[in-house]
Symmetry: D2
Subunit: 375 residues, 4 copies
Amino acid sequence: MTRLRLGMVGGGQGAFIGAVHRIAARIDDQWELVAGALSSDPDRSRASAAELGIAPDRAYVSFEEMVRLESGRADRIDAVAIVTPNHMHAAPAIAFLNAGIHVICDKPLASTAQEAEAIAQAAHASAAQFFLTHNYTGYPLIRQARDMIASGDLGDIRVVQVEYAQDWLTEEISNKQADWRTDPSKSGAGGCVGDIGTHAFHLASYVTGLNASSLAADLDAFVPGRLVDDNVHVLLRFEGGAKGMLWASQVAVGNENALRLRVHGTKGGLEWEQENPNVMHFTRFGEPKQILTRAGAGSTAAGQRNTRIPPGHPEGYLEGFATLYTEAANIIRNDQSGTPEAGAHTPGIEDGLKGMRFISACIESSRKDAAWVSF
Amino acid sequence: MTRLRLGMVGGGQGAFIGAVHRIAARIDDQWELVAGALSSDPDRSRASAAELGIAPDRAYVSFEEMVRLESGRADRIDAVAIVTPNHMHAAPAIAFLNAGIHVICDKPLASTAQEAEAIAQAAHASAAQFFLTHNYTGYPLIRQARDMIASGDLGDIRVVQVEYAQDWLTEEISNKQADWRTDPSKSGAGGCVGDIGTHAFHLASYVTGLNASSLAADLDAFVPGRLVDDNVHVLLRFEGGAKGMLWASQVAVGNENALRLRVHGTKGGLEWEQENPNVMHFTRFGEPKQILTRAGAGSTAAGQRNTRIPPGHPEGYLEGFATLYTEAANIIRNDQSGTPEAGAHTPGIEDGLKGMRFISACIESSRKDAAWVSF
Amino acid sequence: MTRLRLGMVGGGQGAFIGAVHRIAARIDDQWELVAGALSSDPDRSRASAAELGIAPDRAYVSFEEMVRLESGRADRIDAVAIVTPNHMHAAPAIAFLNAGIHVICDKPLASTAQEAEAIAQAAHASAAQFFLTHNYTGYPLIRQARDMIASGDLGDIRVVQVEYAQDWLTEEISNKQADWRTDPSKSGAGGCVGDIGTHAFHLASYVTGLNASSLAADLDAFVPGRLVDDNVHVLLRFEGGAKGMLWASQVAVGNENALRLRVHGTKGGLEWEQENPNVMHFTRFGEPKQILTRAGAGSTAAGQRNTRIPPGHPEGYLEGFATLYTEAANIIRNDQSGTPEAGAHTPGIEDGLKGMRFISACIESSRKDAAWVSF
Amino acid sequence: MTRLRLGMVGGGQGAFIGAVHRIAARIDDQWELVAGALSSDPDRSRASAAELGIAPDRAYVSFEEMVRLESGRADRIDAVAIVTPNHMHAAPAIAFLNAGIHVICDKPLASTAQEAEAIAQAAHASAAQFFLTHNYTGYPLIRQARDMIASGDLGDIRVVQVEYAQDWLTEEISNKQADWRTDPSKSGAGGCVGDIGTHAFHLASYVTGLNASSLAADLDAFVPGRLVDDNVHVLLRFEGGAKGMLWASQVAVGNENALRLRVHGTKGGLEWEQENPNVMHFTRFGEPKQILTRAGAGSTAAGQRNTRIPPGHPEGYLEGFATLYTEAANIIRNDQSGTPEAGAHTPGIEDGLKGMRFISACIESSRKDAAWVSF
């Protein structure tokens, strides 16, 4: 099987998420990185490209150049991964979509609602696909949770508790990762709420299949001088009557990357934690709690799909991320062959828009003293 | 050492919490149960008393009779434990306080604010002590957490996450425990919020030393036909700027008695779960997380006080409850001897009033669509 | 119901296990401590007795005096608890058994095989009962495990892994608890193997119902100058073909009181840890692992028997210990009434003898370079 | 950077470990699979190769053909991965070593001691490197544990407890994975002891730096008709006086892939479990237990080396495996450049020989009724 050709915007030396995207793209051997606008500095762009095995003539200094020159090649890239800070998503995304090149974009969708809308318009107008890397949806047990709920194992959902706690911004710090995330001109008006709150919100929606209809949010910037929120408390109301709470924090000392989801329905309950993603607790009301394992006893088809190794051999963050790349590859290949792909749940433009509405609603609600905001 | 004499109102055959109080009173050998108004039915009162080794002439059929006859005895009871449903706290509590007999009362304080106020007036007017059995405060690691925070180990508190999840009321059921808790004429207007929400609220305040100044609450009665709330979502604001979330639920399938507290400050974080109460996680910012154990390495004086056995030998719910009885005994003995007791943090009438205001504020806020309510 | 009258030999001020026995005796309200030979020093004996509410005329200075004077009383003690160091079990046990007074004795049975045999002869010759406080058998989930295995839930047992790890003797120390346990003239020839190895061995036998037929042991005294073993490695062979490993250590840094049992059969597997005794993991082959909780969903009659509070409210070490006292009380009362007690599994003299044979076999095997020793 | 060229022997359609090797080789982008003798059936070899993007002219039908033709190419493979059953390691390994091509071989080294010796001779005679994929050594926290012990954080090691429990062979089954592992003509005389016991033994040695000097083993084949062991109990003695226990089982119901290591020394203790490999417990004697996380607070240089993402983002089995491939690539590149690689601890031929001696010693000891066997 021939690999699809991938380009990358951002992700030069020192970047975190760019390297993650590259590993994720390699794991299932569906992609080859062949082009990049890795840096706006010509020397760094070339140096980064050389390290990554990208041919010098495809080491671009801007995404505009990359779109223009790639579009003219017979072996042009099939898709581009956009791994820049939030405020630099919209321009390249729109350019590549307009050129008919598939886009794999990091989250949140953009830094402003206007940018997000513009991307959405471009996506709708383009024959190309738009994928948003809400990578936590790629964990096999998250897929299994989604299917268990859809098939009624939990009954009607009543309560959704989701949280995403970190502590790396507990004190004032300055480094490549922190700087843009705490600068509203780059991250957008949301800090923690955009960076990790959107992950939590998306995961809750993705797994339960529920649409949040309104929220009340209390946002804080606890670190003196911080310009964006670093702690987020949200009450959620879902269509159909379920209720939820969402907590996101980057100042919760003792937490590294503690994304945790709990869902309770009339018949059952589920609990899952990202830091040990190969297990999930499931309780049927009145029965002993079960420890479900990735690909283990009682796993569903969705739980076995896109998993690579037997139970007890832990898969991690990179494998979950890889699943999004592999699903994107399958969708693109099927597009090419005219066969729609079934069973893939890769987040896309609608998820991105919802995430942006979530951020906006949280900020608006918090400014109104946690009044309910519909969205 | 002579045991103090204990009477009991409520707690006849089939009761849950009455038996707990009696074991708790026995564990540290400070109390002897000698009198009871265990049931309003004379035959059942006598039968229950006989089972418990209470002399027939002190097996009363009403608390009024008990107050009157005990008051006339030279060996009258030192204290009475009131373990009736919420709506039956006020009348006996006031009667015993008026008679100068110490009162140990289950929580919440009462079923209405009016009753609570009346108890408080009686308590303030009486020389007798009033103890409220927020028993979770009796766990040694909770005492240690309180002292660690008071001594600054966590720095300034920013975020408090507290939850108390059960699932036993997931479906409509009828039994002695469920019936009065879901009947507002007995439990008061609050269901879950009064029964376990108050425990969670009290624990958060007790450990952090923070006063909540306002809250926004979203209460639900998910089970069809239920007259009181069974799921409680609350945003909290504390004096000084800390923020919190409180979740209490009796319909969270997969939870037996999952009271959990997490506190995060500028310097450190703490996590504790009631179902495995002999361990607590503590992280100093930037250092590895520690597993603190009851009476184990690094335990503080408060963590060692009122613990009975070496680390690794688990103490449980009954021992934590016993600590309240032992502290009450110490306070009463010191009252008698004129020496004030230091180091005891047994909840009392003020905690009871705060708990009632918490219930009222939650109900009021929820009726106002989760508007902020000060208290 | 009238309490049974309990006496105690040993357990004066500063003792650990004496206080544990007293709490255990109180918890279910079946016993009243009324006499004691708590210390051989007359002043300390009286002072200890006064603290414990024992009448001065029943504060004896020796067990011999206690046997003699109690035997002459109409209200003589029903049973005596012997909580002295190992080498001081035999003489009082035999004396009380000869006097027809029931004996509740701490483990191991004695410090030598000769003493053990002498106790056994006295027990067999006496109408009085002999109870041995292998208290870990009192945990409700241990009872449940025993019954699950007996009823075939695990199929035929193949592998038994049991371990009991502590670290308090990692370095040379001197205190009341350590001194006699590391002095072979008091503890017997076994150190760790007698103190905690016997608990582990007994628990494995008790739960599985299997008899060990031979063992190979490798014992070490790692701490320089230590006269008894402090680390014990044992291979076990059971009648019927099951195999086991037993590890006991008092120098395993990072362990407080880590007694852990795992049993694997042809159909299922069980895992339990004493430090969090309210949960047990159970797996039917090919199905998801279950988390069984004390008195929770799926608990058996044996798991519910002698448990006091609902699931999620942790019971601990003292409650498990209390169950032995309560079962002893039931057996004694039934003896008195002529009704045999069903369902109690309180360890007795045979368990004590087996434990002594286990110690001897380990020492013999280790001296023979871990040769197999039958027993 | 140019990728190294990798060939593969074995690993055709339906294989487990071949796919693992391929992912591991891709993760850090150091390798490109360009040749394979994936199957002895020409059609399947070609089909498998096509799936994997191997050019048709490099899809060989035998390793002999592969050695011959690759040796003649200017772009010949840099290394070959041998992922066949144990009895098919020696012949290709020797052939490639003789051709001067680096070998990356799955474990155990071979199915017989004779084969192992022959490989070792070839490795010693060849300028090419020989790597053995004891992949569990690739976990960052295992590297950290090794360095912590080497630097004295645990003091002198006294006790090593290692176990590797699975349950997939609890019953008689027949499939591609089970068949060769339970056929002594393919697996060698050891079943469980060779398949996973060697991993456990190697891990214990690797982390502690201790050499085992003798062992006593009790092996069983519990499943009726099974020709190789499926449960392994071993006592270990190490040079310098440390003692150990090793348990390996494939019939321990309730275990998926439970490799667990605990090490206790005079100053500290460590515990690690493969199924949640991103945490490790560490206790300094007398201090609270710490939860060390991969790349987290307090991690050492060795713990940070070859880890790809921040703490809290779990890495898994495939990343640990990838580290071996990356280290092999570094060593090979440095060989080419003449610069020795520092800090890599990739297992090699000596580890393979020790593993074979471990298997032989276990089998010999077990045949002699668990007599001590030196090695």
